[in-house]
C-alpha cells in the first residue's frame, strides 16, 4: 500500500524531538509517583536527556523536510538547536545548587525546562505558520510557569504574571498576523508563502508580517516589545533569569531568521525596514537605559535587549553573510551571558543572594579569579578586541556594511560605545572601589561554567574556525 506509506511521515527526522517529548513524559511519571523526593533524580535525568538529545542533533547533518513541510531539519536548525540545548542544559545545571540553597524542591522545574526546550526545537525546525505557533506556545507556556515557579515570592509571581499577560497579547498578535498572511497568500508553509509573494505582494501581507514580527520580537525582547524583560529578569529567581537570557532567545531568533529569510525573501526591502527600526531601537535603549541601573540582573536585561539589537543588525542585511553573523553572534552571546549569570549566581553573602552592582565592590581583591573572568566578560560584552564579543559585533557590522546599511552600522558602533560605559563601570567597581565583604565560595559548577565561558571568550580569536565554519554552513542552508 504505497498510498499509506506515503501518508506516514518520516518520523526519524524528528527523532531528537520525539525522544525529548517521550522523556519529558517519563519524567512527569516519575515525579508523579515518587513526589518531592525525586527532585535530584529528575533533574539528573532531565540533564541526561538534554545531553542525549544534543548528541542526536549533533550527529545529524544535511537538509530534509517532513510532516508535509512543517518540520525542517537543516544545518541552521542544527546549529541553533545545539545552542538552545546548551543554554537549557547549563541553566539547569546552574540551578541545582540554587534551589537546594533556597530549600525549594520542585521536580517540575526540570520537566518544564525540558518541555520548553522541546518547544524551542520545534520552533527552530518550524516549516510553516502552524508549526511556528505550536512550538512558540509550547515554549512560552512552559516559560510562564517557570517564571512564576517561586510562587511564595511576590516579585517572582508578579514577574510571571506580567510575562504571561504580555505573552498572551503577543501570541494574539502573532496569530492575527499569521491569519492575515494566510488570507493574502493562501498558504501557511514558508515555501508556499514565498512562492505566492514572487508574483505580487500586498499591503495585507506586510501588515501580517508586522504582526508576526511583533510576536517574535516579544520573545527575543526587542524594542518596543521588550517592556517585560527588565521586570521578569529582576523578579524571577536568578537561575530562571539565566535560562530566559539564554535558550529562548536562541529559538526565537532562529525562528525570526527562518521566517523572514525563507518565507519573505521577495519582500526583503519591506521587512528589512522593520528589522532596522527594531534593531536601532533595541541597541539605543539597551545602551542608554542600562546606565541608570543599580541591579545587576536588570542591567543584564537591558544588556540583552541591546545585544538582540546587535544580532538583528546581521539579520537586517538579509544576506548569507548576515545570517552567518547572526548565528555567530547568538552563539557567542550565549556563552557570554551564561558566564555572566554564573558569576551573578555566585553573588551570595552568608547564604543570601545579593543583586546590586555595588555588592561587587572590591571583588578584584576578595576574589581575583572571579573578578578577572567577570571583567573579561564585561569587556567582551562591550565588544573590546580581541575578546569574542568583538568578533560577534564585527561579523554583523561587516554584513551590514556589505549590504550598504551604513547608517545602521554607524549607529550600532555608537551605541556600543555608550554601552561600554556601564560595562566598564562594573569593572571599575570591582577593581577600584573599597572592598565590600567577600562572597561565599563559588560552587564547583559555577566555577566550571564561568571558567569555560571566560576561556572561550579569551581564546576565541586563536581558533574561531569551528564556530565560523558551522555558522557559515548554517547560513548557507537557508538560502
Amino acid at each position: 500500500m504505497p498510498g499509506l506509506t506515503a501518508a506516514v511521515p518520516a518520523f526519524g527526522l524528528a527523532l531528537p524531538e520525539i525522544v525529548l517529548a517521550a522523556g519529558a513524559l517519563v519524567l512527569v511519571l516519575i515525579g508523579a509517583i515518587r513526589g518531592e523526593r525525586s527532585v535530584g533524580l529528575i533533574t539528573g535525568l532531565a540533564l541526561a536527556l538534554i545531553i542525549l538529545v544534543g548528541a542526536l542533533v549533533f550527529v545529524r547533518t544535511g537538509k530534509a523536510v517532513t510532516f508535509n513541510g512543517s518540520f525542517v531539519q537543516d544545518d541552521f536548525a542544527r546549529f541553533m538547536k545545539i545552542a538552545a540545548l546548551v543554554g537549557s542544559g547549563v541553566a539547569l545545571v546552574m540551578s541545582i545548587d540554587f534551589w537546594r540553597g533556597e530549600r525549594v524542591d520542585r521536580f517540575e522545574y526540570a520537566i518544564l525546562i525540558v518541555l520548553s526546550t522541546l518547544g524551542m526545537m520545534m520552533m527552530i525546525s518550524a516549516g510553516d505558520l502552524i508549526a511556528l505557533y505550536l512550538g512558540l506556545e509550547l515554549m512560552s507556556l512552559a516559560l510562564y510557569v517557570v517564571a512564576a515557579i517561586h510562587r511564595d515570592n511576590v516579585r517572582a509571581t508578579e514577574a510571571g504574571l506580567k510575562y504571561f499577560v504580555l505573552g498572551a497579547l503577543s501570541s494574539g498578535m502573532l496569530l492575527y498576523g499569521a491569519s492575515l498572511i494566510y488570507g493574502f497568500t493562501g498558504s501557511v508553509s514558508f515555501g508556499g508563502i514565498a512562492t505566492a509573494l514572487k508574483d505580487h505582494n500586498s499591503t495585507g501581507v506586510i501588515f501580517g508580517l508586522v504582526f508576526v514580527m511583533a510576536g517574535l520580537c516579544f520573545k527575543i525582547s526587542a524594542v518596543p516589545f521588550h517592556m517585560w524583560t527588565p521586570d521578569v529578569y529582576e523578579g524571577a529567581p536568578t537561575p530562571v533569569t539565566a535560562f530566559f537570557a539564554a535558550a529562548p532567545k536562541m529559538a526565537a531568533m532562529a525562528l525570526a531568521v527562518r521566517v523572514v529569510i525563507t518565507a519573505f525573501p521577495g519582500i526583503l526591502t519591506q521587512w528589512q525596514q522593520i528589522i532596522v527600526f527594531v534593531s536601532i531601537a533595541s541597541m539605543g535603549l539597551g545602551a542608554f537605559a542600562a546606565i541608570g541601573q543599580r541591579n545587576i540582573k536588570r542591567l543584564m536585561a537591558y544588556s540583552s535587549i541591546g545585544h538582540m539589537g546587535f544580532a538583528l543588525v546581521g539579520l537586517a542585511a538579509g544576506t548569507t553573510e548576515g545570517v552567518q553573523g547572526v548565528a555567530i553572534y547568538m552563539a557567542i552571546y550565549l556563552v557570554m551571558t551564561l558566564g555572566c549569570f554564573a558569576v551573578i549566581l555566585a553573588m551570595k553573602r552568608k547564604d543570601v543572594y545579593v543583586e546590586n552592582i555595588d555588592d561587587l565592590a572590591g571583588l578584584g581583591r576578595t576574589a581575583p579569579a572571579t573578578a578577572f573572568v567577570f571583567a573579561m566578560l564585561m569587556f567582551s560584552l562591550a565588544g573590546i578586541p580581541p575578546l569574542a564579543g568583538f568578533f560577534a559585533k564585527w561579523y554583523v557590522f561587516a554584513a551590514a556594511v556589505h549590504a550598504n546599511l551604513y547608517t545602521l552600522a554607524v549607529i550600532g558602533v555608537l551605541t556600543s560605545v555608550v554601552s561600554t560605559f556601564y560595562y566598564l563601570r562594573i569593572v571599575k567597581v570591582m577593581y577600584f572601589d573599597e572592598p565590600a565583604e567577600a562572597f561565599d565560595p563559588m560552587t564547583p559548577v559555577l566555577k566550571v561554567v564561568s571558567g569555560l565561558s571566560g576561556a572561550f571568550i579569551l581564546l576565541f580569536w586563536l581558533w574561531p574556525a569551528p564556530l565560523v565554519t558551522a555558522a557559515t554552513a548554517a547560513a548557507k542552508s537557508l538560502f
Binding site: V210, A214, F225, D231, Q273, F277, A289, G292, F421
Partner: protein
C-alpha cells in the same frame, strides 16, 4: 679640518651632555674646553689660509640632507673669508668662555650640563656660519636659539630666569617667522636654497615683482625685508630688542659668549652673507640702516641710567649691533663685519670683566653697591678699562677703527636715511662714552659702597626701586651674603681669558683694519662680500670732510669728560639732574616703556585669547558639547528611558501596541513600495 672645527664642539656636547654624570664635572669641563681650544686653533689656521693666504673659497659637502621635488638641501660648508672670520670669532671667544667658566661656575652643581649647553651652542653657531644654504643656516639659527633659551634659563629655579628664557625664545620666534617666510620666498623666486645657486640669480630676481595683498612689490625687497626681520630678532634690533636685556638672567659667561660676542651677531652675519641679495634692493638697505641707527641711539639712551652692571653692557651690545647694521645698510659690509670682529673681543672682555666683578662681589650686580674696586681687583680693573677704551673708540684701540669706519660710511653712503644715521651714530658715540665711563667710574673708582653692609632689607628695597633689575641671587648664592665679604681677585682660569681678550681689544683693530676695510679689502674678502657696481663706499669714506671724520672722537671725549665730572668730581650732579628731569629719567630707566607697551599690546591680549580659548573655547564649547555635553545628554536620555519603565502591565501592553501601530502606519504611508 673644517669638519673637525664644526663637529668637535658637538662631540664635546654629546660627551658632557650624555655622560656628564658618569665622568663627573671636572672631566666634562676639561673635555669640552679642550675640544674648543682645538677648534679655535684650527679656526685660526683656517683664517690664515683662507683669509690671509691665497686659498680659494671652497665648498665642503658633508652629507645630503633632504630632497623633495625641486628642493635639495645638503649639509655643506661654505668656506670663504666671511666664514673663517666668524669661525675665529666664535671659537676664540667660545674657548675662552669655556675656560673662564671653569672658574666662574666652580660652585655650581650642574656644571656638566652647563658645559654641554655651551658646546651645543658653539656647534649650532658654527653650523650657522659655515652653512652653504638657507635651510642649514636656519638649522643653526634655531639651534643657537635653543641653546640660548637653555642657557638663559640655566638657573631654572629662578622664576625670573625662566621668564627671561621664554621671553627670549618667543621674541625670537617673531623674527624667525619672518626669516622662514624669507627663505620660502627666496626658494619660490630662485628655485633653490643653496647660496651658489641663489646669488647668480640675484639680479634677475630683483627685476621681478611679487604680488601680495593687492600690490606688486619688488620681489627682492620683500625677500630681503623678511630675511632682515629674522636678523632683527636674533640681533635684538629696535622693536624686537626686549629679550636681550632680560637675557642677562643667564650666567655671565653665557652673556659674554651668546649675548655679546656671537649669537646676537648672527643677524649681522646673515645680512653680510646675503649681501648679493641686499645689494639689489635699496629699500631694504635703507630699512637696515634706519633700524640700525635707531637701535644704536635708543639703546644708548637707556644705557645711560641703568644700574645693573650687566644690563648696561647689554644695552651697549644692543647699541653696537645697531652700528653694525648701519654699516651693512651703507653697503660697507666689510666695516660691519670688522666691527663685529672687534666688538666680539671687547664686549666679551667687558662681560667677562663684569663677571669677574660679580664674582668678586659675591654675586652683587648693582653698581650702586660697588665703588672703589680698583684697589681690590686691579687686574680686572685694568682689563675692564681696556674694554671700555675699545668700546668708546679710543684711538688705536680696536673699537676706534671699526666704529669710525662705520660712522664715516654712514656719512659717505648714498643710501636713503644716511644723514639720519650719521647724526644718531655720532650722538650715540658720545652716549656710549658716557655710559661706559660712568659704569667704570661708579664700579671701580670713588669710595667703596660695599663695606657698609646694606643687608637684605635694603637689598629688597632696592629691588623694588629698580624694578626688575636682577640681583644675582643665584641658586648657589645661598652661602653668600651681600657685601659682607672683602672683594677678591678671580682665579687664574678667569684672568687668562681676560688677558687674551684684552690683547684682542687693544690690537685687533690696528692689525686687521687694512684687511677688513682698507687697502687689502679685495685680497682679503675675495668676493665673499658682494658689492654692486655703483657701490664705491670703500673709496667714498676717504673723501669725507675732516669734521665728519673727527666727530666721533670728539663725541667720545665729551662723553668721557661729562662722565668724569658727574661721577668723580661732582657725584651729586647725576641725582640733581635726575630729579630735575623726572619724566625723562623714568622714561629712560624704564627702557622707553617698551616692556609695558608690549605687555598691553601683545602679552595681555594673547593671554586673554588663550584664556578665552581655554575656558570658553575648549571648556565651554568643546568639552561642553563634546565629552561633558554628550555624557550629560546620555544621562538625560537614560533617565527618560528608565522613567518609561513604570512597572504597570497596561503601560507595557500599550507600548507594544504603539510599536505595532507605528510600524503599520509607517508601511501605510511610506515604507511599502
Amino acid at each position: 679640518m673644517y669638519q673637525a672645527i664644526v663637529f668637535l664642539p658637538l662631540v664635546g656636547f654629546l660627551i658632557a651632555g650624555l655622560f656628564g654624570r658618569i665622568i663627573g664635572a671636572r672631566a666634562s669641563e676639561v673635555v669640552t674646553t679642550a675640544f674648543l681650544m682645538a677648534a679655535a686653533l684650527l679656526s685660526w689656521i683656517a683664517f690664515f689660509q683662507v683669509g690671509l693666504g691665497h686659498h680659494e673659497a671652497l665648498r665642503v659637502q658633508v652629507a645630503q640632507w633632504m630632497v623633495a621635488g625641486d628642493l635639495k638641501v645638503d649639509w655643506a660648508f661654505r668656506i670663504d673669508t666671511l666664514t673663517v672670520v666668524m669661525l675665529v670669532v666664535v671659537n676664540t671667544v667660545s674657548s675662552l668662555v669655556h675656560l673662564y667658566s671653569i672658574g666662574y661656575m666652580h660652585e655650581d652643581p650642574h656644571r656638566p650640563r652647563f658645559f654641554a649647553y655651551l658646546s651645543l651652542f658653539t656647534f649650532a653657531m658654527l653650523m650657522l656660519v659655515t652653512s652653504d644654504n638657507l635651510v642649514q643656516m636656519f638649522f643653526g639659527w634655531e639651534g643657537v636659539g635653543l641653546a640660548s633659551y637653555l642657557l638663559i634659563g640655566f638657573w631654572y629655579q629662578k622664576p625670573s630666569a625662566v621668564a627671561a628664557a621664554m621671553k627670549a625664545f618667543i621674541v625670537n620666534r617673531v623674527g624667525d617667522f619672518g626669516f622662514s617666510l624669507g627663505i620660502f620666498l627666496v626658494f619660490v623666486l630662485s628655485g633653490s636654497v643653496a647660496f651658489p645657486e641663489i646669488f647668480p640669480k640675484a639680479e634677475e630676481i630683483a627685476k621681478g615683482t611679487f604680488h601680495f595683498i593687492g600690490y606688486d612689490w619688488n620681489a627682492m625687497t620683500i625677500a630681503c625685508l623678511l630675511l632682515f626681520m629674522g636678523a632683527m630678532g636674533k640681533s635684538a634690533q629696535f622693536l624686537l630688542h626686549t629679550w636681550l636685556p632680560d637675557a642677562m638672567e643667564g650666567p655671565t659667561p653665557v652673556s659674554a659668549l651668546i649675548h655679546a660676542a656671537t649669537m646676537v651677531t648672527a643677524g649681522v652675519f646673515m645680512v653680510a652673507r646675503l649681501s648679493p641679495l641686499f645689494e639689489q634692493s635699496h629699500v631694504a638697505l635703507s630699512v637696515v640702516m634706519i633700524v640700525g641707527a635707531t637701535t644704536a641711539f635708543f639703546a644708548g639712551t637707556i644705557g645711560l641710567v641703568q644700574n645693573d652692571i650687566k644690563r648696561v653692557i647689554a644695552y651697549s651690545t644692543c647699541s653696537q649691533l645697531g652700528y653694525m647694521f648701519v654699516a651693512l645698510g651703507a653697503g660697507a659690509y666689510g666695516a660691519g663685519i670688522f666691527h663685529l670682529f672687534t666688538h666680539a673681543f671687547f664686549k666679551a672682555l667687558l662681560f667677562l670683566g663684569a663677571g669677574s666683578v660679580i664674582h668678586a662681589m659675591h654675586h652683587e650686580q648693582d653698581i650702586r653697591h660697588m665703588g672703589g674696586l680698583a684697589r681690590k681687583i686691579p687686574f680686572t680693573t685694568v682689563m675692564f678699562a681696556i674694554g671700555t677704551l675699545a668700546l668708546t673708540g679710543f684711538p688705536l684701540t680696536a673699537g676706534y677703527y671699526s666704529k669710525d669706519a662705520i660712522i664715516e660710511s654712514s656719512y659717505a653712503a648714498h643710501t636713503f636715511g644716511n644723514a639720519y644715521a650719521f647724526i644718531l651714530l655720532s650722538i650715540t658715540a658720545g652716549l656710549t662714552s658716557f655710559y661706559s665711563w660712568r659704569l667704570f667710574f661708579v664700579t671701580f673708582m670713588g669710595a667703596p659702597r660695599w663695606d657698609t653692609p646694606h643687608g637684605h632689607d635694603l637689598a629688597v628695597s632696592h629691588h623694588v626701586e629698580s624694578e626688575d633689575d636682577s640681583h644675582g641671587s643665584h641658586a648657589h648664592a645661598g652661602d653668600h651674603g651681600h657685601g659682607h665679604h672683602e672683594p677678591h681677585e678671580s682665579p687664574l682660569t678667569m684672568l687668562i681669558p681676560l688677558g687674551v681678550l684684552g690683547l684682542g681689544a687693544l690690537f685687533a683693530g690696528l692689525v686687521f683694519e687694512g684687511y677688513f676695510f682698507g687697502h687689502a679689502y679685495d685680497e682679503f674678502w675675495k668676493n665673499a662680500l658682494h658689492t654692486g657696481p655703483e657701490n664705491h663706499i670703500l673709496h667714498a669714506v676717504h673723501e669725507i670732510p675732516a669734521w665728519a671724520k673727527y666727530s666721533p672722537t670728539v663725541e667720545m671725549i665729551i662723553g668721557f669728560v661729562v662722565a668724569y665730572i658727574f661721577y668723580i668730581q661732582k657725584p651729586y650732579l647725576p641725582r640733581q639732574l635726575a630729579e630735575s628731569q623726572p619724566l625723562l629719567y623714568r622714561f629712560l630707566l624704564n627702557k622707553w616703556y617698551f616692556d609695558e607697551l608690549y605687555d598691553v599690546i601683545f602679552v595681555r591680549p594673547a593671554k586673554w585669547l588663550g584664556r578665552f580659548l581655554w575656558k570658553k573655547g575648549d571648556g565651554a564649547v568643546i568639552d561642553g558639547f563634546g565629552p561633558d555635553g554628550v555624557s550629560a545628554r546620555v544621562v538625560d536620555v537614560t533617565q527618560a528611558v528608565v522613567r518609561l519603565q513604570t512597572g504597570y502591565v497596561y503601560h507595557y501592553a500599550f507600548a507594544m501596541l504603539i510599536g505595532v501601530a507605528a510600524l503599520v502606519t509607517w508601511y501605510m504611508f511610506g515604507g511599502a513600495h
